[in-house]
């Protein structure tokens, strides 16, 4: 139950979001970090632990003038920040550090100060996947989906519904990249990227960043913002190659990570008020809902289509499980490693300040994926002291 004694006391995104050609990657990290520090009334010198992915924690610490007693450079893709939260909770409980800063910044669109994204021809992926022509996530993350659709008698229309309903949430969010309503036909008729995926089933490519500050729950009460407590955490890794997933219809890493987090938190699915599932592509919420245990295998598409995850609309009430309420990677923003933004939205919901606020939200889950079904991290938050 150690994890229960840690809280998020500072949380913020970069000042700007979307297209930011005047800031480099490290600049976005720093902007988000300074905003998060201002949010909790701290200075860089108050921080004694750092964690980040994409850049090294060494770069981050030195850039901000922090001399930490704890550094975590876990880098397993877009869910790295969920793992950083988990490791920070353990580190604070173990006394490795008192106040830990976790940052993300990525110039995904403008590519300012950004490194390459190559894979060695001698790596396993370089030998056993790259020769067959994949070109980035849209042609790799999507590879298992036809098997999933066939197994459960579903179609591309079921993927389109995910994009349509998340756009409904984005409409509430002034910082979202895309806010205009979509129809299923709009999604199905958009440019084909990697059949059966159209452009509107793929995430955005934007610039941005975010940062979190964590400390012990005991100290958290003395900070200006309402503490958001870490109730349960999970992580796992699966495969560096999507073609080697254990099961094309389910993410083993999601299952392992989700179960661990639920077990630690000691909550039931019906206790969850708000859910974030990292949506780099439209199939991820389907896998996430099923692998986290909110839906039985094959039932997530109907769950979404029947508006269980949607906002109120045309006299129909909001669904019982609001999902990706910032608009998600499909409509809000996606810099490359989106997990930080899922965490930020969970924190906003539990502070009660989200643009599309879920009334009385007490428990929120931020579930992330890393790589192409390579890794996973799950954080269960509560705004009530455990």
């Amino acid at each position: 139950m150690k994890q229960k004694s840690v809280a998020v006391v500072g949380a913020a995104e970069t000042t700007k979001m979307g297209k930011i050609p005047d800031q480099s990657v490290i600049g976005l990290h720093a902007d988000a970090a300074l905003n998060a520090l201002a949010d909790c009334g701290l200075k860089p010198s108050d921080i004694d632990g750092v964690a980040t992915a994409g850049i090294s924690p060494v770069e981050l610490a030195h850039y901000l003038g922090i001399k930490p007693t704890y550094a975590d450079g876990t880098s397993v893709g877009g869910c790295s920040f969920m793992l950083h939260v988990r490791h920070a909770a353990a580190a604070i409980n173990e006394g490795l550090a008192n106040t830990i800063l976790i940052t993300h910044g990525e110039s995904g669109r403008s590519r300012v100060g950004t490194g390459g994204f190559g894979r060695s021809a001698a790596s396993l992926a370089g030998q056993f996947e790259m020769p067959y022509g994949p070109m980035g996530p849209p042609t790799m993350f999507t590879v298992p989906v036809l098997r999933y659709l066939k197994t459960y008698g579903l179609s591309a229309e079921d993927l389109a519904w995910v994009s349509v309903i998340q756009r409904e949430w984005a409409a509430f969010n002034p910082r979202a990249s895309f806010r205009d309503p979509l129809t299923v036909d709009d999604v199905l008729n958009a440019d084909m990227i990697a059949w059966p995926f159209t452009k509107l089933m793929c995430c955005l490519v934007t610039d941005g960043g975010g940062a979190l500050v964590l400390t012990s729950a005991e100290r958290a009460k003395d900070f200006p913002q309402k503490p958001v407590y870490v109730l349960g955490t999970g992580e796992s890794v699966e495969t560096p190659m999507v073609s080697q997933m254990y099961d094309f219809t389910s993410s083993t890493a999601f299952r392992v990570s989700g179960k661990k987090a639920f077990d630690e938190a000691g909550i039931k699915h019906s206790d969850v008020d708000h859910l974030m599932i990292y949506d780099a592509f439209a199939h991820l919420p389907l896998y996430g809902l099923e692998d986290l245990g909110f839906c039985k295998p094959g039932e997530a598409a109907a769950f979404i289509r029947e508006r269980n995850t949607a906002p109120a609309k045309d006299g129909k009430p909001a669904g019982k499980l609001p999902l990706n309420t910032n608009g998600g990677g499909l409509s809000y923003m996606h810099s490359g490693m989106y997990g930080m933004y899922a965490l930020q939205e969970s924190v906003r919901q539990l502070r009660g300040i989200a643009p599309a606020q879920v009334p009385d939200a007490k428990i929120s889950i931020a579930h992330g994926v890393g790589g192409m079904f390579a890794a996973s991290g799950t954080i269960i938050f509560s705004n009530e002291a455990p």
Partner: protein
């Protein structure tokens, strides 16, 4: 067109690529446990950890397990859309590949259709294990 991105064999995978060059698809299996065949190659059994494993000539047969059709071809792959496919081999493992000898369309590429290996020589060292509809 830039040259096609090709694998660079390592000591642990050399036998697999040598097999492809010689026209046989090789898999590995454990001689100590019932873990079955595995891929990609490694010098130990991923089920039990034993180093007592053997390479053998696989059937080269499987079924089309899943795929996407890349509508924006990578420059080294030409200018036409192509399927990035995964086949499930008769022996169990899955493997990424391309499907040759048939149109790159959803109509022609039906999941679970039988496929068989068709090696595509790239240079003196590397032949890629592509797959074609069985009996084509």
């Amino acid at each position: 067109m830039p040259p096609r991105m090709l694998p660079e064999p390592t000591p642990e995978t050399r036998d697999f690529w040598s097999g492809c060059k010689e026209g046989e698809l090789r898999l590995q299996r454990c001689t100590e446990c019932d873990g079955g065949s595995y891929f990609p190659p490694r010098p130990f059994c991923p089920r039990c950890g034993s180093r007592k494993v053997e390479s053998y000539k696989a059937s080269g047969k499987g079924v089309l397990w899943s795929y996407v059709i890349n509508m924006r071809p990578r420059p080294d792959m030409g200018t036409e859309p192509y399927a990035i496919a995964v086949v499930k081999l008769e022996e169990g493992p899955t493997m990424m590949t391309n499907i040759t000898g048939c149109p790159q369309t959803p109509e022609a590429l039906q999941l679970d259709m039988p496929v068989e290996v068709a090696f595509a020589k790239q240079n003196d060292d590397i032949s890629l294990p592509l797959f074609q509809p069985a009996g084509a």
